[in-house]
Amino acid sequence: MFRYLMLAGLALFLPGLFALGYAVLEGPSAWMTDSRTFWGTPIALFVFWIGLAHAGTLLSAIFLALGIKLDRRTALIAELSTLVSLVFAGIFPLMHLGVVENFYMVAPFLDARGNFANVRSPLVWDFCCIVVYALLSLLFFTTHLKARVVPALDRYCKPMAWLLFPLVLWVHTVVSLDFATTFVPEWRGAFFPVYFIVGAILSGLALVNLLICAEGYRVRLMERLQLITSWILCAIWIWDLLFKGYFCTSAFIFAVLLPQFRMVAVIRESRAGRIFFSLSILLGLFLERFYLVSPLAGVPGEPGFGLVDLGLLAFSLGGFMMLFYAARSLLNESMEGAGTYFGEVDGSDMANVEESERSREKTHGLTLSYIQPWSSEEYKTLRLPLACGFSVALLFVLWVCAQLPFVGSPYENVEVILVNVLPLSYPVIAFVAALVLACKAVWVDKAVELGRNSYVALAVALVALAVLAGMFYAGGAASRPDAVIAEAPQYGSEIVDSAHVQFVWNARCAQCHGVDGRFNDKFIREYYPVPQKLDVARIDSLGLDSLVNVVLDGRVNMNPYRGRLTESEARALVVYMRSLAEAP
């Protein structure tokens, strides 16, 4: 069955890959972008997939931390779905940047050219949170997977779960701040963190229910949770309606109204019915995110959901199915075992799971019971790693605050206060704490014996990391290599009329530079290091030819447009930009 699902995924993935390639080459003009929020399909897909990526941690780590039993197979399926969803969630913000190759600029460290990431930007927060979440989820999944073979690893699952519990909420909170920190009327909402988390939990539950239904079994606990979460989300939407007068009817129908038919026993007990509920919720939440990101979608005169957007959706769906079922069939043997169910998993079965887990704990002498507070055991397994994490986070915050106002930096006048750096703090804490915990497991408690191959792999990974960090520090090329420029088509110097220049400016440049040439402040301040202002004096000092070269060949964060704009168009754009700078 996995093979057929993989093939179905491939059928969606290949045309989607074509759309992705076209979109990356063409830039933001290729996909649907809301003319007011400057966000479009990639961000909607990012929010959708990052929500789905909560399934694993919610169902596995949070349940484990709170002592709610879940069979191992379901937990591992959920964790695997998290990892695969994260892959696709990570691709779309990079596309949205427009300057894909400069993605490392969102990493919060200084590079050799003096650029420092704009730590006030939620995108920088997103980058840190998602990277740490991905690493910790991978570590948690591996620990959980290997615990069956190496029972000593079991005792590290719970502390890891307690580290991941706040992290998963932190990640989606930071995603919600992408919206809530802006001035877009539809995105006003200091309640967005809770709203996004509830939405993410619902979509994560729907995904896991769908995946386990596809495998031919069910977990009633998750179906119940799915229904309950839909009620809470409905209450939040009603507050949104009272507060802003905004209500997404299609999302309400698919994500809240239709799943209520679960109360009808005939539908609930049918496998097709359960698949329908999960699909309905996923569709409803996708529509909700789509209309949230692009409130003007569907308004006459605004760009609509086109073929490229459909291709991007197909790319992510097909890619998810392919990657998930490839990994699932590869890890099939490790994911089965005691506590695995091939049929209905309901309340009575859970009692058997608990019994088998208890006997297993006795057999292996594991102590997974309540750890006394302030005991040396609690200190060593949880508080010490957390204390290390807090110390490093504190040093990081001090370092950031000391770096930014350094003399001579273009960010000399950028004001950074604790509020700007705070969202980065927990990912740092969790990362360091997990690292300490892993080191303790390997070298202090010797829970895992690392063989020679493991040490070699670790060394290679560290060297690769150092090389990557070095490359990031050095920064990317400021312009295209000569060979590429030489191969680019040459154009004549035809005359470009003013209406066409204005059209090109609005299509290609306004997203960053603003329609009036005075920067799209929202876009620039949130997503890039703050650039220099191009006033008349500066434009004149740089000169027309130099600026034409910048437009054609790119520079730092500026995309190269050679091949997409003619030289005459570039020249006309610079003149148009100067006229905008001259305007009062």
Partner: protein, 151 residues
């Protein structure tokens, strides 16, 4: 929101809390109650606001703050795992306040630093509690009310 209605909101949260997590209650009942309380708090905020909710950004997350307070109160009636859920409920309240404040700060509002610091402090302190006596529960409830009303 007037100080009187703000204090009444605290009482409303306290009253609602007594219906949660009753012995033998099903997840459906508790889930429906949580959604219902959120709806009630939303309507209360909408009609109780002295200014309109559209013009007062501090009211954007008011119903969620009420729900978090309600959850804090409800943990005192738990039979088992009281420390765990007490810490979690306080962390949720702290979370709502902190990230609500960050969102509002970016839109030009001042953050309620004292409230956030008080909640962070009590949440951290609660992790050291091993036994939660009736007296300690009472102290915690008074503290939460004080944070709600005065900070």
């Amino acid at each position: 929101m007037t100080p009187l209605l703000n204090a009444f909101a605290c009482l409303l949260a306290l009253g609602c809390a007594s219906f949660l997590w009753r012995k033998g209650s099903s997840p459906y009942r508790n889930g429906a109650l949580l959604a219902g309380f959120l709806l009630l708090f939303s309507v209360f905020t909408y009609f109780g606001a002295s200014d309109t909710v559209v013009t007062d950004p501090s009211l954007e997350h008011y119903p969620f703050r009420m729900l978090a307070l309600c959850l804090c109160f409800s943990t005192t009636s738990l039979g088992i795992y009281r420390r765990r859920y007490l810490v979690l409920a306080q962390a949720l309240w702290c979370w709502v306040e902190l990230f609500g404040a960050i969102a509002l700060y970016y839109r030009g509002c001042d953050a309620a630093c004292v409230r956030i610091a008080a909640l962070a402090g009590i949440t951290f302190g609660s992790t050291f509690l091993s036994q939660i006596s009736r007296e300690m529960e009472f102290c915690l409830m008074v503290f939460w009310m004080a944070v709600w009303v005065f900070f």
